[in-house]
Amino acid sequence: MAKVKIEEQLIGGEFGRKKAEDLLYKMVLTRTFEENALDMFARGKVHGTMHVSIGQEGIAAGAGPALNEGDYLLNTHRGHGHFLLWGGDLNRMMAEFLGKETGYCHGRGGSMHIADVDSNNLGAQGIVAGNLPISVGVGLSIKMRKTNQVVLTLFGDGAANEGAFHESLNMASIWNLPIIYLCENNQYAMSMAFERAFRIEQISDRASSYGMKGLTVDGNDVIAVHKAVREAAERARKGNGPTLIEAITYRYKGHSKSDRQLYRTREEVKKWMKKDPIKRFAKLLDVDEKMLKKIEEKAMEDIQKAVAFSEESPEPKISSIMEGIYA
């Protein structure tokens, strides 16, 4: 079978080679950011916790860029990739991670609450499924303001078992809200395996009980995610309501930095590493290992610059401690 040109696969040629390469770079950047973050934790340079998405970068690369400027993002606790692909600035992101005044949230939110209201990025989320009811409000607001925007709501397989999932999807469906529910099924809700937490084969099966379109895609396939999100956005903009997309993926690292991963085997992790989204996308772009290495080096360089920027940045002033609580 003839290989379809990458530009064509990326939705009717509107993605040029340059943009595809940028996606690849952002995927590598996400992974490098997170590996560097883990390293900084290990060396005791930062405190707190964070959740890395290493192995899941394909979904972020496929999703955010499929939407328009002005659309809304409701992110998860494992959302560094989505943040970068929503146009997040690396320096300000790193500064937030290090709790600095120059960070997106002036060091008040950290990795788990990073947001950029100016770009309609309504934040990462510390509560599993906490963003699902909020997306109903955002969708309702779009409908009332008649702005033709859409909402991209991200959550994991764990969130699909919260009550908020049910309330949110039902309300979105009865009111035809322009919401794209994108479930990143990475096989584990902390230690709870998908097979142990669900009696169904696919989370997307639940869409039918809300009278909503549902589909499952390979989350490690950037093109598949992009296409699904693009189509869901078109449906939403036409007034045809929400879509539930389940993207199958896998996280290589533990839930958070304290996870000893007693619930899975090394073999399982290795098996999934063979389906690595970055390597796969690189191959699609005919980027060989040598070229990929170069991209990784560039990413590391940028990360180091961001670290330097952040380390030089001031801490929040103690005198400002009570700021930002009330308008």
Binding site: H113, I127, G130, P133, I134, A164, M171
Partner: protein, 328 residues
């Protein structure tokens, strides 16, 4: 002046706010054709249509989320929690999301929404439909908490709450809905964070909230015949609390009685008591501060037991007499 019931005053506030600002809308259970479980929104569906008077499925987290999400993207929603007790089903959205979003995002988001809740006992609705949970929200930075005690305040405070650029928990009392009082027709506001001296007196300061304000005034009338003058103060906004009128009154009378319907332990009375004791009013006290509050129990179904579970006029009279006589 024209008289309106507390319920009509609330309705008029919602209607005037919606007429003035198309970003304001009402969302909740049975608020449309049914008119709200207690009738507050009766007739509003006909005026504004189903796109602005939005009936929801029984999904309290969804209602709260609809408020948070639409507020942060430019709307000014009013959410109705049918019985305030049901707010337990919306706690995550209000406490984890709505209250903290602005702060977590570095002071950049605005969340102009109001959650109206019908609280209180006295209707025979028993333990799951009669609670007074306002103090839970007083404990959450990022929220404001309002408790109107009269039709006049209900309208003016609700209009202020709707204009507020922060989340406001607006606790109404079921037994007050039918009470009447003077309410101006114009669109007036009463600023949040302003306590009100509703009755002046020299012998004892009574700080009361919600329905306990009218009960305290009734008690004051009874005690006046015995030559005892109660000063009654209504904080109106529990958070932020306007402390000055409370401490000023205690400095004048030297005695404080705090009355609320919520259970005593962990109730707002403890906060008011601490405010008095941390202020310069402490030195003026010539008796212990006393709290009269709901018994530490779920609200019982039986009419007599329900009556005795929360402070009544006769309890306030008795407690005030004891304080005046120095018998505690």
């Amino acid at each position: 002046m024209r008289e309106l019931s507390y319920m009509e005053a609330l309705r008029e506030a919602i209607q005037q706010a919606m007429e003035k600002d198309e970003r304001v809308f009402l969302i909740g259970e049975d608020i449309g054709i049914y008119g709200g479980a207690f009738g507050v929104s009766a007739g509003l569906l006909e005026k504004f249509g189903p796109d602005r008077i939005i009936d929801t499925p029984i999904s309290e987290a969804g209602i709260a989320g609809a408020c948070v999400g639409s507020a942060v993207t430019g709307m000014r929603p009013i959410g109705e929690i049918q019985f305030s007790d049901f707010v337990v089903l919306a706690m995550e959205q209000l406490v984890m999301q709505g209250a903290k979003m602005r702060f977590m995002f570095g002071g950049k988001a605005e969340l102009p929404f109001v959650i109206r809740l019908a609280g209180g006992s006295g209707t025979g609705a028993a333990a799951q439909h009669s609670q007074s949970l306002e103090n839970w929200f007083v404990h959450v930075p990022g929220l404001k908490v309002v408790m109107p005690s009269s039709p006049y305040d209900a309208k003016g405070l609700l209009l202020s709450a709707i204009e507020e650029n922060n989340p406001v928990m607006f606790f109404e009392h079921k037994l007050l809905y039918k009470t009447k009082g003077d309410v101006p027709e114009d669109m007036y506001t009463i600023p949040l964070g302003k306590s009100k001296v509703v009755r002046e007196g020299k012998d004892l300061s009574v700080i009361a909230t919600s329905i306990m304000v009218s009960r305290s005034i009734e008690a004051a009338e009874i005690l006046l015949k015995e030559g005892i003058e109660l000063e009654v103060i209504d904080p109106r906004t529990l958070k932020p609390l306007d402390e000055e009128p409370i401490t000023a009154s205690v400095k004048k009378t030297g005695k404080a009685l705090i009355v609320h319907e919520a259970v005593k332990t962990g109730g707002f009375g403890g906060e008011i008591s601490a405010v008095i004791m941390e202020s310069d009013a402490f030195g003026y006290l010539d008796a212990p501060i006393r709290r009269l509050a709901g018994l530490d129990m779920p609200i019982p179904y039986n009419r007599t037991l329900e009556h005795h579970a929360v402070p009544q006029v006769e309890d306030i009279v008795e407690e005030a007499r004891k304080l005046i006589k120095g018998v505690y």
